[in-house]
Subunit: 263 residues, 4 copies
């Protein structure tokens, strides 16, 4: 039995594509995940959800069966991993890893609906199944690595953006609220204008109409954009650094050219 | 005859400008292509297309004659290329190259219209003639090279964008659909809002009106922009790298020209 | 007494987190500052400001007490700093430093309101309390350093933006004012369109409707965006340089650790 | 006389600030240019132009006098420059340099108005006076140098943008013109939508309403933004390179460290 458990563990954890069966297995689960995503998206269109009801219900049942079995096998075989050796406590700790929680969230809605919980929220929870993609598509790791590596920069700039947004919206509130009390009626309301302006989305539902408001808005837009673009720039730079590093790690010369020692 | 065929092949394939006749020839075809582009654009304005009907019809006939002859000569002389040596199979393989297909698409609409096919779609197909520009303007190769070189990065980021768009639109649908069932009535409909927001286009036809929707939209706009700007950043970086490399390949001098020491 | 003054000075000026009491002290003041920011923002919502009036008034009184004591202790202990040694003139010069002025502005509104000054403007002044954050959050220094370092570049590009905005708005005014005298009625009015277009915010309240205006606007948008994005790019580049430099200063190793040769 | 001519030439051409009188002279002209810019902008506001009519007229007369004398002295002293030595042909050639033409355009409107030419266009021409700023503010040279250095890149990307805009607008025209014949009535009209979308300005006056149009628009927005951002990125990169180079030119070590030869 420990032999078959090791085999199951291998099946789920094959780091680099693996042999025949592992690949087929990965492909089936990934396909099911994407199909579920499509079902949530298309199922929200009323005409489709009523016309193809049997298909949506069928997919739901098949998916829950498959994902439940997958989850069970993962928990059962997790003790093969050194970190989760203990049969009970090890498995419980495995169940608390982010990826295992996502796997649980992917099947929980169905069982909760049997228990009579409101359906609308459950349908939203089903979307978390899409996060299972992260397990099967390696390339998605890159973005996680970039965010982790650039965390201090991203935190500082996000903090700055928050501070700027509060200051800018407060100023605008004092300037514009008298002329447009329905749209600039309080600072939190004015922040909706602030976000639309500083991200340059500019829906056009809220904009200043007084001269003072327009002048202030212009100054804010020109000076503030730079700050709002900082996280974007940091993320883009981190992304290209990360990919450049992955390329280099295969090519570089990590030895001192003078003495030949590894550096 | 094989001599004149070689000459025709040279005429079409002169890599760097070539001598007198090649240049004139290239200029005439390029001019005709651009003129065709202008004709499609201006011909869509009803007042112009009726007023200058004879000119548009004349240009069409001249262009089709010229492009047909060009296409015929290209197919005939293609066997001069080592890759397409075989008189029949070689020529057929040449006809399946992307550039030859574009040349065929440039003349096909005219012959199909003689066969009675609907005109509207054919006029659209005539736009493909503009793609013939790629053959005559070398500089356009750069963008193709950049896309090919950065393909993995572009694929990953485009995938991420797709995933983000689905998740974000689904969340927004659950938050906003009750208040605005006509604009956020389903997840695919909500994706129109998602694209307008995350690209910062913000037409202003769709935007959240509930407090929860505005808060969610603000968070999404601030955090999501970074991800949507990634392909843009990658393309821009790849473009300047490509051009820098082309400059360097002619200029670099990694040795002191006086003593020969590596610098 | 000079001993306790030195201790108070230490309490306020601990450069790196410091020991127990300094940390608690910093945390309390920072918390009070953030609470004040939240109070200004939420206090602008009428329903909240009336429902929780006692809380807002209480926070105001506690904050003013605390900030007044803080300000007093800072002025008193400032003579411990070499730059402000003189008991009278030194303290006066300390009171003119930007940070001390912010501290004064943070408490002034309250005392002015006792003197009968109009409340609306005072409430706006209270926002300056948020600037006290800069004293307690080190990370915010980075942005100041970047702006100082890139000042010449930022000044040149801001000047260019101003010049471009005037030229572009003037052209647009001459082209569009006849068709839309209410929106493009003068060059300053047209500058509101200019800012909305060149920052790509595009609220949609002002846009050209004549053919000439649309063509001009298209050319301006395509060519002008590059110039408006320059300060953003400079700020982003400066920010990542600054952070890279801070990393490097701790890590770099420009010698082979094995043979001591420079690499 | 040739002595005083050389002195006048020096006065106008002092490369680095120069001594007392040159600086005063430069300051006066620059001040007059900026005052003229302000007058054109503010003079377009009807209430101001009628209220302060004498001031605007006075400034116009003083400026034309000053700029005419400046232009005359420049032409007279231009022969001091080696390139324009010949008293007649040299001066004529000097009058054809871009800067001399700007100086001429700055005074021409006034003399043409005396000759009875329509005023509206002349007022627009007066804006060209602002271009005289370029002569007196050195920092503005940077942008010119960047554009000249990056000309090939900027030309290629601008060409690509033009091609993309035509293709994208044509596709959209065929998809959307049936549903909104007033806004997508021809390809040139649709290009207004194309510019608003691809620059992300998104005024909101034109947007697709059919499902096919929205899908196409989404794909175009996501894929096309990268191309439209290329000139911006190139300009920003060129700008920071140019400034970095100016810094370095003072610091670098342009000698081979091995043999000491200049490189």
């Amino acid at each position: 039995m420990s032999h078959s458990r090791a085999y199951v563990y291998q099946l789920f954890d094959a780091q680099d594509g693996g042999r025949g069966l592992e690949r087929v297995f990965d492909g089936v689960i990934l396909g099911l995940v994407l199909l579920n995503g499509a079902a949530v998206v298309l199922g929200s269109v009323k005409s489709l959800s009523t016309a193809y009801r049997p298909f949506f219900v069928g997919l739901e049942i098949v998916s829950v069966y498959a994902f439940t079995i997958e989850y069970g096998l993962r928990v059962w075989s997790s003790v093969e991993d050194r970190r989760f050796r203990d049969p009970v406590r090890g498995r419980l700790r495995f169940m608390c890893t982010p990826m295992a929680l996502i796997d649980l969230l992917a099947i929980l809605p169905f069982y909760l609906s049997l228990a009579g919980v409101d359906l609308r929220i459950l349908r939203l929870l089903r979307l978390f199944r899409l996060l299972k993609v992260a397990r099967y598509v390696r390339a998605l790791d890159v973005i996680g690595q970039v965010v982790r590596r650039k965390r201090p920069e991203l935190l500082v700039t996000t903090g700055l953006i928050g501070l700027l947004l509060v200051l800018v919206s407060s100023l605008m509130y004092y300037v514009e609220s008298a002329a447009q009390p329905d749209k600039f009626g309080s600072i939190p309301e004015t922040m909706w204008w602030g976000v639309a302006t500083l991200t340059t989305v500019g829906y056009g539902d809220v904009y200043p109409i007084t001269v003072a408001g327009k002048v202030l808005s212009s100054v804010i837009a020109v000076l503030g954009l730079g700050l709002f673009a900082l996280p974007t720039g940091i993320l883009a730079a981190g992304f290209s650094e990360q990919l450049a590093q992955q390329h280099r790690s295969a090519e570089t010369l990590p030895y001192c050219p003078h003495c030949g020692h590894k550096l």
